[in-house]
């Protein structure tokens, strides 16, 4: 059952006041502009046993994503397509407020929103990943571990998953005498587009992108907007207990397009350098 919750990070009233005053004067606690992301660092291929991997640092938020490819049965209704499963876990290493155990609703939402951003953009051409259509298909697992949490887990996790998929080497499987064999060869994942998510939060009347956990503890509402390489919207999720006006939603979606495009360029450069 979903329940109203206290913020896990308790912000002292003085600090909250300080933040509100600063934001009213157009500044943020860490000196960034409202539409400025924290520094983004992506290292790819960090986990050799994974078919693809990425270590993303967005400010102090750190996420490791790994791709593992297996074969299995297709999803019901999608018999001729490979299966893509994106999951996320906030590790107990990530902050003093996280305890081991089954995922809570925040983590489930995080994993589902990241999964939707990638799935709905059709980043991977899953039709190219059917081995025996209707029976055996490639199953791509993208598992994301949040190892340090300082806000905006949605974007950091999404960047990690996308970077890991972009650089993944998919093992080539073949059918021999009715059994699946690994040929030992690999191929690039069939990438069609580069989905980038941008999360905006509302604090009073102000809209800020890429919130820190302090900012998230003070926010009224949150919206995560994913755009693809054509600058089309592919997934949106509003979150947190507050509201947005129509005007604010339109601002947030426009920002997501502009900032998403900037980031997409940066992303391509970083990935190319990493290889």
């Amino acid at each position: 059952m979903s329940s109203t919750r206290k913020s896990t990070l308790i912000i002292e009233n003085l600090r909250k006041q300080q933040m509100k005053e600063l934001i009213a004067s157009g500044k943020r606690l860490d000196g960034r502009l409202f539409d400025e992301s924290r520094s983004l660092n992506i290292q790819v291929g960090v986990i050799k046993k994974a078919n693809g991997s990425a270590w993303v640092k967005l400010g102090n938020t750190e996420v490791v994503a790994g791709v593992k490819v297996e074969t299995g049965e297709p999803f019901e209704g999608l018999e001729n397509k490979g299966a893509l499963i994106v999951s996320a876990e906030v590790l107990p290493t990530a902050s003093p407020f996280i305890e081991p155990g089954p995922p809570d609703e925040e983590t489930i939402e995080l994993a589902r929103v990241v999964d939707r951003g990638i799935r709905e953009s059709e980043m991977i051409d899953l039709e190219k990943l059917a081995l025996v259509p209707g029976k055996i298909v490639y199953v791509i697992f993208v598992d994301c571990s949040i190892i340090n949490s300082d806000g905006n887990l949605f974007d950091a996790t999404s960047y990690a998953a996308v970077a890991a998929l972009l650089t993944a080497k998919i093992p080539i499987f073949e059918m021999k005498d009715g059994a699946v064999i690994d040929t030992g060869k690999t191929k690039e994942a069939p990438i069609t587009t580069l989905p980038i998510s941008i999360t905006t939060v509302r604090l009073g009347e102000s809209l800020l992108i890429d919130p820190t956990s302090e900012e998230e503890a003070c926010m009224d509402s949150r919206i995560t907007v994913t755009t693809n390489s054509d600058k089309f919207f592919t997934a949106i999720q509003k979150g947190s207990s507050g509201f947005f006006t129509l005007e604010q939603i339109k601002n947030a979606t426009e920002t997501a397009k502009v900032k998403g495009e900037e980031l997409r360029r940066k992303f391509k450069e970083m990935i190319n350098l990493g290889q």
């Binding site: 059952m1 979903s2 329940s3 109203t4 206290k6 209704g77 609703e105 925040e106 489930i108 939402e109 994993a111 589902r112 939707r116 709905e120 953009s121 059709e122 919206i223 693809n228 054509d230 600058k231 089309f232 919207f233 592919t234 997934a235 949106i236 999720q237 509003k238 979150g239 947190s240 207990s241 507050g242 509201f243 947005f244 006006t245 129509l246 939603i249 339109k250 979606t253 426009e254 397009k257």
Partner: protein, 247 residues
């Protein structure tokens, strides 16, 4: 999502016979569960959903209580017989997420500060699902909260818009959700002009996105009238009597 077959025929009719900007038939009954403090039953096309509200009441376990406001708890659950193939009755990840977004969609409308240390429980049970059950659940939950006499700033009206055959259509049904191009549910506070739920699955350009949002809000306003009428019918018999009393 790539659409494999056409879902709008040459006469502009959709799979269930509606035109593109037409809502399904919506019927709301108020106060159908005797034990609950507030309740509602909604038939949203083929969706059948009951909502019971209990509270404000004591919070158990006590440590979950908040000192400055009320805790809103929300459970969205689908009955095993509500879908084509039996649904496992244990809460799925999808239901956990929907419970969360519904709670967050209702919270801006409820004056939680009026009931510190208490809890309000909203139980949404989908008896039969046909696409758009989260919106229908919010519509009924909002009516049930009002029926329970909870202090509210506004109603919450929810409705989806989406893309089918590259056209923007109102109130996506199950087939259109599964085979169509995009689905965008919205919850809207009609008097405060605030959006409290917004999700999107599928690909939309800016023009389509704006058109979707405008259409969905129009749908929400229609739902709002139905919600109002349902409440008035329970408490004042009919709308005319209400107007007389106001005078």
């Amino acid at each position: 999502m790539v659409q494999t077959r056409s879902l709008i025929d040459e006469n502009g009719k959709r799979t269930d016979g509606r035109v593109i900007d037409e809502l399904r038939d919506v019927k709301i009954g108020v106060g159908i569960i005797k034990n609950a403090d507030g309740s509602a039953f909604i038939e949203f096309g083929k969706n059948k959903i009951i909502v019971a509200v209990y509270g404000p009441r004591e919070v158990h376990p006590k440590h979950m209580a908040l000192t400055d406001k009320c805790v809103l708890r929300c459970r969205y659950h689908m009955s095993p017989f509500s879908t084509d193939t039996r649904k496992n009755p244990a809460p799925s990840r999808r239901e956990v997420e929907i419970s969360k977004v519904i709670r967050e969609a209702l919270e801006p409308a409820i004056i939680l500060e009026d009931y510190p240390r208490a809890a309000i429980d909203v139980f949404i049970e989908v008896l039969e699902a046909d696409g758009g059950s989260r919106c229908a659940g919010i519509d009924a939950a909002s009516v049930a909260l009002a029926d329970a006499g909870i202090n509210m700033r506004d109603m919450v009206s929810a409705c989806a818009a989406g893309k089918v055959d590259d056209k923007i259509v109102l109130d996506i049904n199950d087939t259109e959700d599964k085979e169509g191009g995009a689905d965008m549910p919205i919850a809207y506070l009609p008097n405060l002009n605030q959006i409290s739920l917004l999700q999107l699955d599928g690909i939309l350009d800016s023009t389509q996105f704006n058109s979707c949002i405008d259409n969905a809000i129009k749908g929400c306003l229609k739902i709002y009238e139905i919600q109002r009428t349902a409440l008035m019918q329970k408490y004042f018999g009919n709308e005319k009597e209400m107007e007389l009393k106001e005078e």
